[in-house]
């Protein structure tokens, strides 16, 4: 199946085109979108199976040999990211059935979501720097569309911040591409591995690496450029915010991992800067969350602090630390998307996103309480859930590298995360319901279409925690191949001299 690496991109794009014809019919549009999402999931699983069997799959688009044409290359990291994208895509599409109203369907919610999924998968699969830029722009355009579509098309200030900063990020990115092309004469990542190391003007190369770091740092919401995220994410509709929270910042993290393992293997300055940035990102994110009382704002700040952990794993650049970063990516995407979906259910059951106005959900909605409890305490790092193992790997890698201060920071941020999650638990689920809620807002019967994805993702979180052994083994293997990318380069360059 030679086309397999392209299918996770082509299938959602094809379904998106098909969905344009169903815009006036929400039920049919949802059915087609669901079929598309399940197909996406099937293709992603097939890709994963093939990658486990063959390690690297490469598709030279248009049969141009690398490094002259664009290639799609799926290694273990790409495959696992595509698989999770498909999982979240499916969960969000199922949830959207009861949460997205007809005006939003008419505005093109389903086709744009499919395009967004295709763009994310394209970014994970491409082996070419300029093509990565193109996929970033596809994602950006789709995310803009979903951003201004929300249920209350008000509060565009957050949208403006999101748009401005993300546009700046892509501008930095393409500037760096121009510089790198000028220095090396190639944009194929595998080809760059040797050619970037051979560049004589190290200062200019470091400058280009820093530009890329800034670009992907904005995307990943790293300190000090994370302000757009809490400003924008709570204005979205719930399924969209779940997809954004799960996937979009992680594309930035993935790009950072790919750049600093494959392309710039010898730029140490960037890694030193990343260490400091990671620590500050963790701290600022979690402290920002402590001061919030709106559920989705709390979660938004926690995205930031958790991205800090992943970048810390990259900045240490040992096999254990990188494996920790990969485990963290997998765990975090599932948990975070799930928590955003839960926040929508809390709004339905309690009538508000604000923790001050809801309460008593533990006694009235037991399943929802379970659906929140599992991802929340996985995020906070309770054993035996997935978050505990992810944090443990990162902290252990910090100690092994002699970065004791960073290990302390990581542990401390874990404690503060517990504080935040307990705050949501005690306010929304534990305390008695305040009577200030407008009863017309409360819909106590939660639809199975909305609870289903939440419980399914919670189950995945539990399963990840229980079967952590194989997951860590897989991540270790992926991390070793990232640090020694010779096999990847050989596969992409296909025996070229």
């Amino acid at each position: 199946m030679i086309l397999l690496p392209a299918l996770p991109i082509l299938l959602p794009l094809a379904v998106a085109i098909l969905l344009v014809f169903f815009r006036g019919d929400p039920r049919r549009a949802q059915a087609v979108a669901m079929a598309g999402a399940v197909g996406h999931l099937a293709v992603a699983v097939a890709l994963m199976v093939e990658v486990v069997r063959h390690e690297v799959l490469v598709l030279w688009v248009g049969n141009w040999p690398a490094p002259f044409g664009i290639c799609l290359a799926a290694d273990m990291l790409s495959a696992v990211m595509v698989l999770i994208t498909a999982v979240i895509h499916t969960a969000v599409t199922v949830y959207a059935r009861r949460d997205i109203d007809a005006p939003q369907v008419r505005a093109g919610f389903y086709p744009i979501l499919q395009v967004l999924a295709a763009g994310v998968c394209g970014a994970f699969l491409t082996g070419d720097l300029f093509n990565l830029y193109v996929w970033f722009e596809v994602m950006l355009m789709a995310s803009f569309g979903l951003l201004v579509m929300g249920p209350k098309p008000g509060r565009l200030a957050g949208a403006v911040k999101y748009v401005a900063l993300n546009l700046l990020a892509t501008l930095f990115f393409i500037t760096a591409i121009g510089l790198i092309y000028g220095m090396t004469g190639t944009l194929n990542m595998a080809d760059l591995h040797a050619k970037a190391a051979a560049v004589e003007n190290r200062a200019l190369l470091t400058a280009a690496a820093m530009l890329l770091m800034t670009a992907f740092g904005i995307k990943a919401a790293l300190f000090p450029v994370f302000f757009w995220l809490p400003a924008a994410y709570h204005t979205l509709s719930v399924p969209v915010s779940a997809f954004f929270a799960g996937m979009l910042t992680k594309v930035g993290v993935y790009a950072l991992i790919r750049m600093f393992t494959l392309v710039f293997s010898g730029v140490d300055l960037a890694l030193d800067v990343l260490l400091v940035i990671a620590a500050l990102t963790m701290l600022f994110g979690v402290v920002g969350a402590a001061s919030q009382m709106e559920m989705r704002r709390i979660l938004g700040f926690h995205i930031i602090s958790q991205v800090g952990y992943m970048v810390l794993g990259l900045a240490l650049l040992t096999p254990l630390a990188l494996a920790g970063a990969i485990v963290y990516l997998v765990h975090h995407i599932i948990v975070k998307a799930n928590l955003y979906l839960v926040s929508g259910l809390v709004r339905q059951a309690g009538g508000s996103f604000s923790l001050k106005r809801v309460g008593g959900l533990y006694s009235s909605h037991g399943l929802l309480a379970i659906g929140f409890f599992i991802p929340a305490f996985s995020l906070a790092g309770f054993p035996p859930l997935s978050g505990f193992w992810a944090k443990l790997l990162i902290i252990r890698a910090s100690i092994e590298s002699g970065q004791y201060l960073l290990a302390v920071v990581a542990a401390l941020v874990g404690l503060l995360t517990i504080f935040s999650m307990v705050k949501i638990w005690s306010e929304a689920f534990w305390k008695t319901a305040p009577d200030a809620v407008d009863p017309s807002c409360v819909h106590p019967d939660l639809s199975a279409w909305m609870l289903g994805p939440v419980l399914a993702l919670a189950l995945v979180t539990v399963a990840l925690g229980i079967f952590m052994g194989p997951v860590i083994d897989f991540s270790m293997a992926a991390a070793e191949r990232l640090l020694d990318p010779q096999a990847y380069i050989r596969a992409v360059l296909g025996g070229l001299p």
Binding site: F130, M141, L156, L167, L168, I177
Partner: protein, 133 residues
């Protein structure tokens, strides 16, 4: 030629960043247009510049013989221009919508700033009735 272009790129970058930092959204869009052009010129300059022939293989030959122009930067710039158009279009629509809602395009204006922790206003009506079970 390359020195001249490098100077021009630097000048465009400086002007664009000045405009983008001004806090007024119309200026941000103008800055975005300028910086897009600056980056395109940068890519163009990166692909080496010289007075050469077009990269066409003459009749009866199997490969390029003489130094020829570099076609790849032009392809990259073409892509970047097209994407830039889409972005500018979107930005202008967003500006228009923002202005019609807030009555201002100054990012420091009070109408633009949200007080943090503001409680979301009354719940959006869920239209389950339209979608069906």
């Amino acid at each position: 030629m390359e020195t001249l272009l490098a100077g021009l790129v630097g000048l465009l970058f400086a002007a664009a960043i000045y405009l983008m930092l001004s806090g007024v959204l119309v200026r941000f869009v103008f800055g975005f247009v300028l910086i897009g052009n600056a980056i395109n010129l940068l890519i163009f300059a990166a692909g080496r510049m010289a007075h050469t022939r077009p990269p066409l293989i003459p009749d009866g030959q199997a490969a390029l013989t003489s130094p020829a122009a570099n076609a790849l930067p032009q392809a990259l710039i073409l892509t970047a221009i097209v994407i830039g158009f889409a972005m500018i279009t979107f930005l202008l629509v967003l500006l228009y919508r923002t202005y019609s809602q807030t009555g201002t395009l100054d990012a420091d204006d009070d109408a633009f700033l949200e007080e943090t922790g503001r409680v979301a206003e009354a719940c959006a009506v869920d239209s389950d009735a339209e979608v069906g079970p």
